[in-house]
Amino acid sequence: MKVLLSWLNEFADFGDDVDKLAEEMTALGMPVEETITAGTKVPGVVVAQVLRTERHPDAEKVHRVYLTTDGSNELHVWCGAFNMKAGDKIPLATLGTKMPDGREILRRGILGIDSEGMCCSAKELELNDDHGGILILPPGLSLGADVFEALGVTTDTIFDLDLTRNRPDCWGHMGVARDLAARLRRSFGADVSGESSHPEHILPVEIVDDESCGRFTATVVKNIRVTQSPQWLQDRIARSGMRPINNIVDASNYVMLERNQPTHAYDLRSVESGFRVRFAKSGETIVTLDGATRELHSTDIVIANGSDVPVGLGGVMGGLDSEVVESTTAIALEVAWFPADAVLQSAARHGLRSEASARFERGADAWGLESAAWRFIEILRLTCPDLEVHGSPQATLNATCPPQSSPVLVRLSQVARILGVPLSAGQVADLIEPIGFRCSGEGSEVSVAIPSWRPDSSTEIDIIEEIARHYGYESLGKSVPNSTVHGRLSLVQQRRRLVHSILTEGGWSEAMPNPFLDPAASQLAGVDDSAQLALVNPLVAEESVLRVSLRPGLLRAVAYNQSHRVDDVHLYEVGHVYPRGSGTLPDEEEILCVMSVDEANGELVALRSWSLLVDALGFGAQIDTKSTPGGYHPGRSATLRRGKQVIGAMGEISPVVLKRHGIVGRVSCLELSLSVVLREEPKAVAARPVSRFPSSDIDLAFVAPDSVAAADLHRAVKSAAGNLAVSLELFDVYRGKGVTEGSRSLAYRLRLQAPDRTLTDDEVAGIRQKCIAAAEKTGAKLR
C-alpha cells in the first residue's frame, strides 16, 4: 500500500520529518519498505510544440522531430517514439538538463546530425509509470514554460507500506493517519457530511438475498460533467499506484484510497428503475467494465437494476452497459458492504482481483458508507461545482450487516498476565480510545466497544494486542522466564549427531537431495514404487512424487559429481521417506543412506560405515545375503533384518541402475532405518576384568563355498569356541590357485583366554576340534 505524506497530513499535523514518521509507522506494525520522493521538478524541461516529423533513410529506430519552444526558432531532435504529430505539445529536455536517472542531455549526433535536446515520456520525468511514448501535454500550455510549473505538478513523499492482513483499515490513508495520530498524540479529524439541497430522487433498493449484501446505499447526483480531475488529484491517484481516468472514476478511487471504501457510479439512465442485490441466477451473464463477458455462478453477487438486469458484479467490478460515459450528466452512486467470503470467491473464480474486491475481501467498514458517499460528492464538486444531490444516502440493511460496535470485556488482570505490565482502566482507555475503541468501566474490567472499521478485532486478546501496539512493544521491556526445565537433546537426537560425526570422520559428506522426485525416478533406481505418493499440485512434473527411498536422490548426486569431474564421491543423507501408510498420513520414516564410488581394489567402501555404526550405536541386525534388495547387485548385496522386519540393505548398486544414471565404475551403498536404530538405547555394559593369565591363539583356515556367508561361518566358530573366546578375527580371504573354483579360503585367528588360569594344551586342542566341527556343519572344510 502506497501512502502519501500530503494526504496523511490532511487528517492530522504530522509535519515533514519523513524518517521519523517511517520509524513510527514501522513501530505500529506498518513497516515502511521504501520512502520515495515524487514530483521532483527537473529544471530545463520545457513545453515545446512539434512542427513536423521526418524519417531518415538510414535510421530505422528513430525519426527526426522538428520543434519550437518560442514559436519562431526551430530545434531538431532525434526521437525513438513515434506517438506525436505536428501541433502536439510535448515536454522537451533542453541541452544541459540533468534527468532524474542521472543522465545529462548533451548535443549528441546520429548520422552526423546533432540532437538539440530530448523528448520525454511521463516515466522519464517520474510523473507516472507511463513509458508508452512521449507525454502529450494539454494543448493550452504556453510554449517555453517549465513543464512542471505549467502542469501544476505537486511534490510528495510516498511511503510504501507492507501491511499485514489483519489491518483492513490501513488500506486507506485515513486508517494509517488514525493509528499514527494516536501514537504521536496528534488530534485527528476525518468527519465528513453533507446535505441534500435538491428534491429527493430516491431509487428503490431491494436486497433480495440477505447473504449477498449487508448494507447498501444509493445516492442520485445530477448536473455533472465528465472531465479531467485537477492535476494534484491525478498526482495523488497515480502516486498511490492507480491510473487517473476521469473526474467520476477518480473521485471513486480517491475515496477508496482515502477511506478504504469502494464506491461505484452508474449512469443514472441504466439504473433509474432502482437496484436489486442478489446472487446470480444460473445461465446469467454480464459484460464487465474490462469488456469481458462473464458467466455468472450462483454464489456471485449481482447488482441488478429494477428490471432485474445485471448492471454490476457486486464488490468486484461494474458492468459495461451502465458505465459512466462522456454524455453522462447524472449518476447513481452505490456505496455498499459485501461479505468478504463471497467477494473473495467471486473474484477468484473470475480471475478478477480488483482494488475493490481486495478491500471487501479483507473486510470493509459497513458503517462508513454514508461518509464515503458524502466524501465522493465533495471530491466531485471540485470539477462539478453545480452538481445537485437529490436526497441523502439512505441505507438498506439486513441481519447480515455487522454491528456498528460490539462490546468486549477486557480483564485488566489478563492484560497484565499477557503483557507483563500492569495497566489501569484509565491507561487502557488512553491507549486505545484515540484509535476508536470506546472504553467504559472503572474496576478490574473494562468494557470495550470495537469500532466497525476493525472487523479483525473481536475478542479480549485482540484488544490486548491493540493495547500493546499503542503502549509500544519496546516500552513493554524484557525479562527472562524462570524455567524449571533442563535443556537437553533427546536420546534420538544425540544418537543422530553420532551418526553424522561417524560418517563425516569416515570421509562421507552430507547431501540434501530434493525429496520430490520424477514419477519414474524410483523405478530407474530399482526401488519399489508401489507405495509412492503423488503431490496434488506440484510445481513441475519432474518433482511431483514423494520419495520412498533416499537412493534415487543420492544416485543423481553421484552422477552429478562424476559429470563435474569429481571422482572421489562419498556421500550420505539423513532424511525422511514418505511411503503411503494405512492411516491418513504416510508412514514417514527417517533413513540413513551412505553411498560411495568404489576404487578399483574391489572394496565396497560404503560397507565400512556399517561396522563403524554398529560399533558406535550398539545395535545389530542379520545380514541376509540370500535376498537381494531391489536395485542392488544380486551377488553383492544383503538385506538387513531383525527377523521379519527389514531395517535396511547394503551392497553394490546394480550395474543396470548405474548405467541408467550414467554412473561409471562401481558404487556401494548402505541404507538403514534410523527410526528403528536411533530409538534403541544400548544398555550400560558391566565391566569385565581383563585376565592376567596368558592367552593362546589358534589360526584356522577354511575352504567354504561361496554360498556359505562368512558371517555365518564366523558365528558358528565363535559359538563353538564358547566363553573362553576373547576374539575371532577374519584376517585373510583368498580365491585362486589351490582353492576350488566357486569357493574361497577364509582364515580366522581365534584368541582364547581364561580369567582365572593358564589354559592347558589339551583344552586348546579340544576347542580347536569343536570349532572345526562347527565350521564343517556350515559346509566349510578345514584347509
Binding site: 513501530a27 506494525g29 499485514t164 492482513r165 489483519n166 468478504a340 467470503d341 475481501e361 479483507r362 498476565r417 499477557i418 503483557l419 507483563g420 505490565v421 486478546i461 490486548i464 494486542e465 501496539r469 512493544y473 513493554l476 521491556g477 524484557k478 525479562s479 527472562v480 522466564p481 524455567s483 524449571t484 526445565v485 533442563h486 535443556g487 537437553r488 537433546l489 537426537q493 549427531r497 553424522h500 560418517l503 563425516t504 569416515g506 559428506s509 552430507e510 540434501m512 537431495p513 525429496p515 520430490f516 505418493l533 503431490l535 496434488v536 518433482e543 514423494l546 548426486a557 552429478y560 559429481n561 563435474h564 569429481v566 564421491v569 556421500l571 550420505y572 525422511h576 491418513t584 498420513l585
Partner: protein
C-alpha cells in the same frame, strides 16, 4: 707372567680402539675377555703358579686387567652406538611436508551445521528439542493453528498438497508450527522446546527461495509467561547466537496463531537491522487446540529460517547452491 698380562692388555686395548662399529666390537669381545682370550688363557694357567702370595698377586692383576679391558669395551660400545644412532639419524632425514596428506573427513551439510549450532544455543538457554512429521494433516498445519477451513490467512502460504482419500486433508507442512500442537498434546507443561525441521512451500526456486527449506520454531508454555518474557528470550538468543554486540527488537505484525504478534529484527553492531522471523504470544485458540487451558497457561512462540542463517554466515549469493550436492561446494565448510 706379569709381562704377558700387560702385553695382552695393551693388545686388547689396541684392538678395542681399532674397532670401527658396535657390531665389530661385539665380534671382538669374546676374543678379548672370553676363556679363550689371552687373558682368559693366562687365568687358566694361574693354578700352575706355586707360590701362594705370588698366585694371589698375579690373580689380582689379572682381574684388574680384565676389568680394564671390559671397561674399555663398554666405553667403546657406548661411543660406537651413539655415533651409529647419530649417523642413522643424519642419514634418514625426510621432508615431513611431503608426508602430510589432506584430510579425507567429510562435511555435514550447511543446514545441519546451522541447525546444530542453533540447537546448542537453545539447549544452553534451557530448551529441549522436539520433532514432528514433515507430511501433516490439515488439522495440525492449519486448523489447530487458528486457521479454520477457508480462513483467508491460509493463503499466506502456498501449500503443496499430497494425494489423500479426502482431498486437501494432507499437506506438506508449510511451517514447523504444527509441531507446537503435537508438543502441547504429548508433553505436559511447562514446555520449553525448539523444533527445527524441513518445511515446504509451492515457491519457484530462485536465489532466495527454495520449495524445500528449513525452519526452527520455539515454544514456551508455563504459568504467567508474558510478552516481556518473549522479548527477553529473543534478546538472550540474539546475544548467545550472534554475539554480545547484537541486540533485538520486536515490532507488531500478524500471524493467526499468535496474539499479540511480532516480527523480530536483529541489530548488527554497525546499526543495520536484519529481519529474522516472526513471534508472538500463543493465541488462546491454539492453546485450546493443544489441549491446554488458556486461563491456566500462557506462552510464546517464535520461528525463523535456518537456510538463511547459513546463507548469511557463509556469504552465499544463491541459496540453490546449497542444494546442488556438489562436493566441490560441500567440502568448503568444515
Amino acid at each position: 707372567m706379569r709381562n704377558d698380562i700387560s702385553a695382552a692388555v695393551d693388545a686388547a686395548l689396541a684392538e678395542i680402539a681399532a674397532a670401527s662399529s658396535s657390531s665389530a666390537l661385539a665380534a671382538l669381545t669374546g676374543g678379548l675377555v672370553g676363556k679363550k682370550s689371552p687373558l682368559g688363557q693366562l687365568k687358566s694357567k694361574l693354578g700352575s703358579v706355586a707360590d701362594v702370595d705370588e698366585r694371589k698377586a698375579i690373580g689380582q692383576s689379572l682381574n684388574e686387567a680384565l676389568l680394564r679391558v671390559e671397561a674399555a669395551i663398554a666405553t667403546k660400545r657406548a661411543d660406537c652406538e651413539a655415533a651409529e644412532i647419530e649417523a642413522q639419524m643424519a642419514a634418514e632425514g625426510i621432508d615431513l611436508t611431503e608426508r602430510i596428506r589432506p584430510s579425507r573427513r567429510g562435511r555435514t551439510h550447511l543446514v545441519t551445521q546451522a541447525t546444530q549450532r542453533l540447537e546448542d544455543v537453545f539447549v544452553g538457554l534451557g530448551f529441549q528439542v522436539a520433532e514432528g512429521p514433515e507430511v501433516e494433516s490439515d488439522f495440525y498445519n492449519f486448523e489447530a493453528l487458528n486457521m479454520p477451513k477457508s480462513h483467508p490467512a491460509r493463503s499466506m502460504w502456498d501449500t503443496l498438497f499430497v494425494e489423500s482419500a479426502e482431498p486437501g486433508s494432507v499437506v506438506l507442512r508449510t511451517h514447523t508450527s504444527p509441531v507446537q500442537i503435537r508438543v502441547m498434546q504429548e508433553w505436559a507443561p511447562p514446555i520449553y522446546a525448539v523444533m527445527p525441521g524441513r518445511v515446504f512451500r509451492r515457491d519457484t526456486p530462485d536465489a532466495t527461495h527454495m520449495p524445500v527449506f528449513h525452519q526452527i520454531e520455539g515454544l514456551v508454555i508455563d504459568r504467567n509467561i508474558t510478552f516481556r518474557d518473549l522479548a527477553g528470550t529473543i534478546e538472550a538468543f540474539t546475544k548467545a547466537f550472534f554475539g554480545a554486540e547484537f541486540t533485538s527488537r520486536l515490532r507488531p505484525s500478524y500471524f493467526p496463531f499468535t496474539e499479540p504478534s511480532a516480527e523480530f529484527d536483529i541489530r548488527r553492531a554497525n546499526g543495520s537491522w536484519i529481519e529474522l522471523g516472526g513471534c508472538g504470544m500463543v493465541h488462546p485458540d491454539v492453546l485450546r487446540a493443544g489441549g491446554l487451558d488458556p486461563e491456566e497457561w500462557s506462552g510464546f512462540a517464535f520461528g525463523f529460517g535456518i537456510d538463511r542463517m547459513a546463507k548469511e554466515r557463509h556469504s552465499i549469493d544463491d541459496i540453490r547452491e546449497m542444494y546442488t550436492n556438489d562436493l566441490r561446494f560441500l567440502r568448503q565448510f568444515s
